[in-house]
């Protein structure tokens, strides 16, 4: 006879009443094995998405160096028109993705000996044909500094099927990271109907003659942007720039700009979005911009920072455009760029941040003239090391090297004090052409260099002038955001349908409605909530993890229990969701929805408004 009045006996009875069978041993072992496999998969994926150190560790600084090299390079005589060309401001444009342009669908590569030449991307527009390349396997030392006159100087070309050659307009840079070179070429535009051609590279630019495989012929096939294989094209989300610039860096001497309410002009415009198998290419344009204080520049040493909606950095590849349209008469020339990134594990919208530099002309209209007798210039293939100093705007510029590149072209290099990022150069006499002054930061000592081509026959003296010496006076924080979408601005929408105040919590329920037009399903991965003061509200129940989709609108229901002791309205409900689209693409997104119970004012403690 059980004695129910005895606590221990009664507990024993309850234990018996609630005794449940154990799981089968085979099931336990099988599940353990499944979990171990899944854990291994998660771990390996996490490793795979961690930015690799090898190439990029070196490539990013190298990109920075080389891009700075280009970005501060302007042709003499065009500065008046385009001296602001590298100034770009936030406000990512809202632009349709459809385009007549062609793009590379699959990377093309070729290997010779240990060297692999890969065309990583291509963009053919009515204005140019741009090829982006990686060359790996180069022996250290095979690629020398651009000054080395023994390096390959033969230009690549494009060979069309009818035998036509398209020549190179600009070489968009080459950079070295141990044994990897990366860069781009800009060729003439492809005639209509030529989406197949061969890239012919007699030798790898910058490599020592005879040290690297030569005579490369790489077939390339382009496809139109927006064709079925590239679906869906998308549009970009416009984000307003910050209202007030923040001044945080001042270099001397400088003219301190006054803070201004002026609108900061747009800088990055997403023109085309291409969905790839595992990510996106954002193709855009950098517009020139200026403020009342002078030109603005984008400092490439920092590059753009891209974080996803959870704050995690998004690794990306940058294909920076070049400025062949810089000579165009139009007030706005194109300076295209491409960001390529994978979307696995990435939550939209992406947050892009950059810093623009406010440049100040420290010299006014002051100029200095540098004169030389042509007979003092170095002979073909010779480098003259010099030690001439000049003063411009209170700064000392040291002319330390002139290189004879052949064919009457000379490279002229100045050591400049830190803080100077640019000056203008113009021919005065005896000079046929002046190349772009290029800022070099590869060396510890900053340099600005440019090429000149001397007239033939060279009159004496030859003379150039230097002017408009620019320093950086301040930085503008630039922020933008981007996410793919096809209906409205959000990928999904949160609806709060019901809120019930219980003793200790609000039971709030609603649904998440996918807005992507061909969304097959929507999964709620996680739900968070934050208070008005940004403190996190503890929701330990992953309520949304296992909801069913509505058959009609595909929405997924959710319920959260919000502990009343923690609430400070309005709160923000934050949902991490995954959309599966009709083309089987997974799009992760963070959707936010502010919420305050009906009839509650945020100005008075809510408890006073609800409780008697």
């Amino acid at each position: 006879m059980i004695n129910a009045s005895s606590p221990s006996s009664f507990d024993s009875l309850l234990s018996q009443a609630l005794e449940m069978p154990e799981p089968a041993q085979t099931f336990a072992l099988s599940l353990q094995r499944k979990l171990e496999l899944e854990a291994a998969r998660i771990k390996s994926e996490a490793k795979a998405t961690t930015p690799k150190r090898s190439i990029w560790r070196f490539a990013i600084p190298a990109i920075a160096a080389v891009l700075l090299f280009f970005i501060f390079s302007l042709p003499t005589g065009t500065l008046g028109r385009v001296n602001l060309w590298f100034a770009h401001m936030p406000g990512i444009g809202l632009v349709n993705g459809a385009s007549e342009d062609l793009i590379l669908q699959f990377s093309a590569n070729q290997s010779k000996q240990e060297v692999t030449f890969t065309i990583t991307n291509a963009l053919a527009t009515s204005e140019r044909t741009q090829l982006f390349y990686d060359i790996s396997g180069l022996e250290t030392g095979a690629e020398e500094h651009v000054l080395n006159i023994q390096t390959c100087k033969e230009q690549p070309w494009l060979l069309l099927e009818d035998g036509t050659r398209l020549s190179q307009k600009w070489f968009g840079g080459s950079l070295i990271s141990e044994n990897v070179s990366r860069g781009q070429w800009n060729f003439q535009p492809l005639p209509a109907g030529n989406d197949h051609f061969t890239l012919v590279v007699p030798c790898i630019p910058g490599t020592l003659i005879g040290f690297a495989p030569e005579n490369w012929q790489i077939p390339i096939e382009l496809i139109p942007i927006g064709t079925e294989n590239n679906e869906p094209t998308s549009t970009a989300l416009a984000i307003d720039p910050p209202e007030q610039p923040i001044y945080e860096a001042t270099l001397k001497p400088t003219i301190e700009p006054t803070k201004s309410d002026e609108e900061v002009p747009a800088f990055l415009k997403v023109e085309t979005v291409i969905a790839t198998g595992d990510g996106y290419y954002l193709i855009g344009d950098i517009a020139k911009a200026e403020t009342e204080h002078g030109p603005l520049a984008l400092p490439y040493e920092g590059l753009v920072k891209v974080n996803d909606a959870l704050g995690n950095p998004v690794p990306y590849r940058l294909y920076q455009g070049y400025y062949d349209e810089i000579l165009a008469e139009s007030s706005h020339f194109k300076n295209p760029w491409i960001y390529g990134f994978a979307t696995e594990g990435v939550y939209f919208p992406l947050q892009l941040s950059w810093s623009a530099l406010q440049l100040i002309n420290n010299t006014g209209e002051e100029k200095i003239e540098i004169t030389s007798d042509p007979g003092n210039m170095p002979a073909d293939g010779v480098v003259n090391t010099l030690d001439f100093t000049y003063e411009l705007g209170g700064y000392v510029l040291e002319l330390n090297q002139i290189v004879n590149r052949g064919n009457g072209t000379y490279g002229v290099f100045f050591d400049v004090p830190a803080g100077i990022v640019r000056f203008d150069v113009a021919a005065v006499s005896g000079i046929e052409q002046v190349g772009f002054p290029q800022f070099l930061i590869e060396q510890q000592q900053p340099q600005i260099g440019f090429d000149i081509t001397i007239e033939d026959p060279a009159p004496a003296p030859i003379s150039i002038s230097l002017s408009h010496l620019y320093t950086v006076s301040s930085k503008f924080p630039i922020e933008g955001a981007w996410q793919p979408y096809s209906q409205g601005y959000n990928l999904a929408e949160i609806e709060v349908a019901d809120a019930d105040l219980k003793e200790e919590y609000f039971e709030v329920s609603g649904k998440v409605l996918p807005l992507w037009e061909d969304a097959l399903s929507l999964v709620i991965n996680n739900i968070f909530a934050i208070n008005r003061n940004n403190s996190t509200i503890l929701l330990e129940t992953p309520s949304g993890l296992s909801s069913e989709a509505d058959e009609v609108d595909g929405s997924v229901g959710w319920t959260v229990l919000l502990p009343t002791r923690e609430l400070e309205f309005p709160i923000e409900l934050i949902f991490e969701v995954t959309l599966i689209t009709g083309d089987n693409r997974s799009i992760n997104a963070v959707i936010k929805q502010p919420w305050i119970p009906d009839g509650i004012s945020p100005l008075i403690p809510w408890q006073e408004q609800i409780l008697p």
């Binding site: 059980i2 129910a4 009045s5 606590p7 009664f10 009875l13 309850l14 234990s15 018996q16 009443a17 609630l18 005794e19 449940m20 069978p21 154990e22 799981p23 089968a24 099931f27 336990a28 599940l31 353990q32 499944k34 979990l35 171990e36 899944e38 854990a39 291994a40 998660i42 771990k43 200790e504 919590y505 991965n525 996680n526 996190t536 503890l538 330990e540 129940t541 992953p542 309520s543 993890l545 296992s546 909801s547 069913e548 229990l561 502990p563």
Partner: protein, 179 residues
Amino acid sequence: MADPDTESDKLTVRQAMHDPTLFTPLYQKYLLPVYKYVFSKVFDAPVAEDITSQTFMTALQSLPALRQPERFSSWLFSIAHNKTMDWFRQQKHQVPLEQESEDKLIASDVNPLSDEVIWLRKTISGLDKTDQEILRFRFVANLTFSETAGVMKSTENKVKKRYYHLIEYLRNLMEVDHD
């Protein structure tokens, strides 16, 4: 003073959050209570296995998002609870759950049961769902009051109070019924 078991769990959870291959000890510790808890709701071994698998898989995949490692057990049982509720929704059960549970509960035991145990099972299956859940968490899942409170989004004191009232109620009812 911190519960050494909780502290040990917390450490294991933290390790697994950084390295998912270290999840196995958590699985081994919680398989039995999770399975039993799920079984106590569905009374079907294959279904309980399926839900248990989903529970641990979700826990493994979502572990990095867990903000309070010390509340792992509460979180895990929350997942189990949700997965079970999903299963019920999918089944679109027409039979009232209480009645079906009661029938299955009695039918699930092959060993002869005492009258008191049968009486208790019938009585429990007629209890309020929250009370049933408290008993499951305490007797099937062997959760502490604190852990039970965590799963039920309540406070430890409230759960304790409700539990002791419930036990008292059952005991008195049993005495009355058996007198």
